[in-house]
Amino acid sequence: MNINRIATILGLLVIALWPLLVHDVFYQRVGALVLLAAISASAWNLIGGYGGQVSVGHVVYFGAGAYASLIVFTRWGWPPLAGAPIGVAVSLALAALVGTPTFRLRGHYFSMATIAAAELVRILASNWEVTGAAVGLMGPPVPRDIWDFSFTSPVPYHYLFLAVLLALLWLTWLMQRSRMGFYLAAIRGGDRAARSLGVPVLRYKLYALLLSAGFTSLAGTLYAVMVGFVDPESGLGILLSVKMVIIAALGGAGTLFGPLVGAVILVPLEEATNAIFGGGGTGITFIVYGAIILFVARFQPGGMAVIWRSLTARTQASRGKNRAA
């Protein structure tokens, strides 16, 4: 059996059994947060990693999902999860609106347009009473029934997030092997070259963005369901976009398990600094985050995926040698 498959199965097994392996609520909560971060980073990975279009404004879709679920609760008393389809619909519309014109822009221009669009939405949401303006929105204070999906234990969230993550990874895996996967790889290599090969560049960028936006929005809803609160900073702050990019890039942008690996490394790190330094830890977390992506960009833009590949190549080679001897 090959080493990649063993590592994958072992890794997924540990993740699936995590809430049973640790009994401390703190560690169980970290596990659920890892999965949530992995969902949004894997969603970003569809357009940012596979498609090579570095969006720094994905928080717009995350925020749409988070706000939709708490708006349907505060306005109509629906369970927050019922906001998911609305959040996804709004995100798809936004993605089409932002994506169609900006996909003609290449490289940096696209990144900057996404930042500007996200900041625009954040300012508007901070001043609109439907979104709770600067104060934000609250979820159900006490669960009314099972549909509110409001639990004190992180374990149910863990399995909800795991189910969504597995569905997303399965879709990504299918996409990777399909025509679309090859088209996106060509687009990542360069717009012009891809077009000259007959790839419908704009259309496939848009497909990837729609898929990505939909799942990012779902991550936003799941966040709101678990935390029960969203405000402009926690739902639409630029740092959330940045986090998705960093997590995916550290693990390996454009690889299936890269974002999950990135989340497994970074989220516990963030929780640890927050636990050690308290409220002042947020600043230190972002110094560390910034330094990590700076070094990833400078020394190994492929992230952990490339490091892993070179490591396994070496062990594979040495095993081959042993067998020959």
Binding site: G52, T102, A116, I123, I284, A291, F295, P301
Partner: protein
């Protein structure tokens, strides 16, 4: 009369925008790499000015050139240590490299200088000047005038001197410039130094009349992007006109609609221009 005063105040702020944006446009035109930390460079210069005054009681005549020198060195170091390498890498690395730098600078500033807003004393550059009914703070007038002079000076150096021609030659075609005996690496390091020095001067000037906080760089970066996109990538005169225009638009929208919406208008304009004319209003792609 008040409207005219708002416009003049916007023009003066716009001149400072034009100054640090022309630094960004120089870097960008030179090697097609964006400095996502540009606004955070401005933030560092603002703190440099603040501490130069509060610790050593140095006036603007000292801390403006001082901040320029400091940021020049930072720009060269960032080029040699980071940008030179990521520029050859994939797009993701180019974006993440300077974005990571921006995060490190911004949150180190949080940690080092605390999140509290600070500002230089208002009367550091004396009082208010009254020109036929239009009242302007002297600090703003000084800041705007110096910024305008330096931006124009930079344009003249780029277009009228041998050194400027060398820089522009590398921006035009790196390999052809190399064949002409120009060292592109040196010119690019110089462009980063000068580009960062403009943020040094601009930051020290804004500090005279603007609040200083660790996160101020975030919106300043976006403003620099807007100005550069409007003016056309690599064009200093374009950055000057666009900077002045953005300053006036911000001042007018803050006055007419409300201060909260001044950036809404600027970002919307930016998106509209990117969609309609991605090469900028004056630029070529």
């Amino acid at each position: 009369m008040i409207l005219l005063q708002v416009v003049v105040s916007g023009l003066l702020m716009g001149a400072v925008y034009a100054l640090f944006s022309s630094g960004l446009t120089l870097i960008w035109g030179m090697m097609n790499v964006v400095n996502f930390a540009h606004g955070d460079f401005v933030m560092l210069a603002m703190y440099a000015a603040f501490y130069a005054f509060t610790l050593w009681h140095l006036g603007p005549a000292f801390f403006v050139p001082g901040a320029a020198a400091l940021l020049f060195v930072l720009g060269v170091v960032v080029y040699l240590g980071l940008v030179r390498n990521v520029a050859r890498g994939p797009m993701l690395a180019q974006i993440l490299g300077t974005f990571g730098l921006a995060l490190v600078l911004r949150y180190s500033a949080f940690w080092a200088f605390s999140a509290n807003f600070v500002s230089l004393p208002e009367n550091l550059v004396g009082g208010t000047i009254d020109i036929s009914g239009i009242r302007i703070e002297a600090s703003k007038l000084l800041g705007g005038a110096v910024a305008l002079a330096i931006t124009l000076g930079m344009h003249l150096v780029l277009t009228r001197t041998m050194l400027g021609s060398r820089v522009l030659a590398v921006a035009e075609d790196r390999n052809a410039a190399m064949l002409m005996g120009i060292r592109p690496d040196r010119m690019q390091a110089l462009a980063w130094g000068v580009g960062a020095a403009t943020t040094g001067i601009a930051g020290a000037l804004i500090a005279l009349f603007f609040y200083i906080s660790p996160t101020v760089g975030e919106s300043l970066s976006l403003i620099a992007f807007v100005v550069v996109c409007l003016g056309g990538f690599g064009s200093v005169p374009g950055a000057l006109i666009a900077g002045l225009a953005i300053g006036v638009i911000q001042a007018l929208s803050a006055y007419l609609i409300g201060a909260v919406y001044q950036d809404v208008l600027v970002y919307s304009l930016f998106l509209a221009v990117l969609w309609v004319r991605p090469q900028g209003l004056l630029g070529k792609l």
